[in-house]
Amino acid sequence: MKKELRVRPIKNGTVIDHIAAGQALNVLKILGIVGRTDAVVSAVTNVPSKAMGKKDIVKVEDRELAPHEVDKIALIAPSATINIIREYKVKEKHKVAPPNMIEGVVKCANPNCISNTKEPVTSKFTVDKHEKGVQLRCVYCERIISENIVEHLF
């Protein structure tokens, strides 16, 4: 029997695979795609996966993800793989890796942190991997963000 494709292949663009189940919409949010693009976007959630049990997939047509966008994805979907598609072929494929340090991506959760004032400071976090994903520690006030990182994105 021919394997049924849930989402048809794309000609050009980016396929983000191996996203933790349930995070597809958050990935779209990070990419700033919701409501702000004419690109054709498909998101599939809870796809059966050998490695992960269930996973989500996001396909963005005619857009190749820039590295700073990939960093952001790693924060909420550390196991994701990025596939750059040109003429229906995978031209580049890489796993996202959470960076050791992120700057200007996440807003500190502490309202009294110096990075949330008019001072000329770019928010900066160290990134620690742990069992459930990643944990961020503000370089300035040391407040930890370990859950719902997506809610703290700028």
């Binding site: 500190c108 502490n110 009294n112 942190c113 110096i114 990075s115 004032t117 008019k118 001072e119 000329p120 400071v121 503000c138 370089v139 300035y140 006030c141 040391e142 407040r143 930890i144 370990s146």
Partner: protein
Amino acid sequence: MFTKKHIISMRDFSKAEIDVILKKAEELEPFAKGKKSNLLAGKILALLFYEPSTRTRLSFETAMKRLGGETINMISPEASSASKGETLADTIRVVSEYADVVVLRHSKEGSARMAADVSSAPIINAGDGAGHHPTQTLLDLYTIKRESHLENLSIALIGDLKYGRTVHSLAYALSLYGAKISLVSPEQLKMPDEIKSDLRKRGVDVSETTKLEDVISHVDVLYVTRIQKERFPDPSEYQKVAGTYRISAPLLKDAKDDMIIMHPLPRVDEIDADVDATKHARYFQQAFYGIPVRMAVLSLVLEAR
């Protein structure tokens, strides 16, 4: 060799670096008591206190002057350029060109780290909001070293362990020495789980209780803190716990002979005045040790430049 340029957070320090500071403090202690020194002659310390402080400010000033250095001051934040809308970053850039070392207290957490990013002179954090106050932790460690012992220590931390960052920093620093830590607090003010698990990962033997009586007979140090009224949204909740841990002389009858009581001060009613005269009281000695420790920190960051 001490290579830290700035003193911002205890998390930046290795055990070896802490030991260098404590050793230096011991060397300088005679000068804290009035013996003359010109170690920091010709050096200028700028004190930038955006929030009120008595002890910390006076002890930094004393430490600098006892070593022959001089201090410059902001009269008050209201009279400073901050009231004209200048950023802290700009103030630090300017003042760090005037002085050889800057001590900063500010209401925002992380302000000292930011200051270090833009400063040409060493920054010493003297409290950033609810954040760090590393010289307090260092003087606590020094007190324990001088009046008890840092290795194989059994210590009870008492009071507000939820919001009290002083105890978080101290517990973290003690983890480097392998302490046994008993946490004593009301249910509402227990130490946050992530800090406890962090301490356990570092090999600390952590136990918890709500009763002071459970620990008093076996610890080497009772570290008492104030329960801060402003932490409670409901005043009646505060009243419930306010008098919970009141150390009095009779309560100490089962304590070890050489057990010491510490408190970062100011105290309100956590320690009765009748404890002051017991052999256990060390909180005033602890306050004095702020001088040699701050002398050590000042001289080390100035040498490290």
